[in-house]
Symmetry: C2
Subunit: 203 residues, 2 copies
DNA sequence: ACCTGAACACCGTTCAAGT
DNA sequence: ACCTGAACACCGTTCAAGT
């Protein structure tokens, strides 16, 4: 609040006149980021539509990575209610054949997979002493004992700083492009299987 | 910090002796929650193992829902490095046939899907005025215009307070059991398709 | 309608001093 | 080794007063 006031060259209290509280301001910021996720056109297969949405969403989030915690990890973000986005996902999943409860479940999977991955990819580092923290974690990663954790030890060269939990940079400096693409593909393949099972059950 | 000190009936400054900084304390808390996710046994198909892990993880997180933001949305959580968990996931994905880059991608999908969903399910409400906030959002949801957003309007009875973005309670008071189960199943089905494609490409 | 100026309550952290 | 007691810097918010 005080920083914003300083940036605007006004007194701290002035900000409160425009926005009631700090939470309200953060909600507005999150809403603004959510709002500029434009939705793909409907002239493609539903599978391609989902993947396209994943990519657009990542582009939008990437422009303001510091906002990600608000979107994924706080219910505040909902206040914005990006109806175009929600409606688009639902419309597309209906095309895939989902209805009622299966539509709900497919929708929740899409949103959780999309925003969940991005929340984690761009999770901020500890504000305190990022460099010291990164060094410590990197060190700890290298002390994995091959006899206790053979798979981890073996995979370490591939995983180090590229895999969740085993990294010391976030998506801002170490983007996870390939994994994000794969994640989107896996979600779509899984939804496809679910849709087929639904159709078969329906007769 | 001050609350903890009060709870322990000591002066605020006393806490700093045991833990250097607030961030360090939060990292320790996150680590403690991560640490009590025990890993399933290896005597089941890899698909069942992944689903079992999803369930165990949710149980652990559910016991301390307020910690979820630390786990999903902050890189601090990594500091704990739950090696048993990471090694277990890798070992299981190796059983499924993944290696090198495909192992990395499959691993990232599993972790993001698991922790990402939980982060969102248990995302905290705005601390400020939860009731007022919930009322406002519920109201806004009901003003969706059917001509502008037909799919959303039609699905609203099913989605209201049960779907991401369209809810005003979090998983503590409104658990998303069915969607979580479905999400796990979709991830496994998607991984399965990926594994088959890998095998085929390998010859 | 929008900002000033001062004040208040709160909170993480420091540090010299105690035991 | 562990805590006290006081102090400091910082930050979101309030409010009467200005224009």
């Amino acid at each position: 609040m005080r920083d914003i006031a300083a940036r605007l060259q006004v007194y701290p209290a002035s900000v409160q006149w425009h926005v009631k509280t700090k939470d309200d301001l953060l909600a507005a910021v999150a809403g603004s980021v959510m709002a500029d996720i434009s939705v793909p056109a409907d002239d493609m297969p539903w599978q391609a539509w989902i993947v396209a949405l994943f990519r657009r969403c990542r582009q939008a989030v990437r422009r303001h990575p510091n906002v990600t915690p608000l979107i994924g990890a706080q219910l505040v973000s909902n206040a914005s209610l990006p109806a175009d986005l929600v409606d688009g996902v639902l419309r597309t999943l209906e095309r895939a054949g989902f209805v009622d409860e299966s539509l709900l479940e497919a929708y929740n999977t899409v949103i959780a997979a999309m925003l969940g991955f991005l929340t984690m990819e761009f999770a901020p580092l500890p504000a305190e002493n990022p460099q010291r923290w990164a060094d410590e974690l990197r060190e700890r990663v290298h002390t994995v004992r091959p006899l206790d954790h053979p798979s981890l030890a073996r995979a370490l060269p591939v995983l180090a700083n590229r895999a969740f939990i085993v990294r010391w940079e976030n998506g801002v400096t170490a983007p996870m492009d390939a994994s994000f693409e794969r994640h989107a593909a896996i979600i779509v393949a899984g939804l496809d299987a679910f849709a087929r099972a639904q159709r078969q059950a329906a007769g």
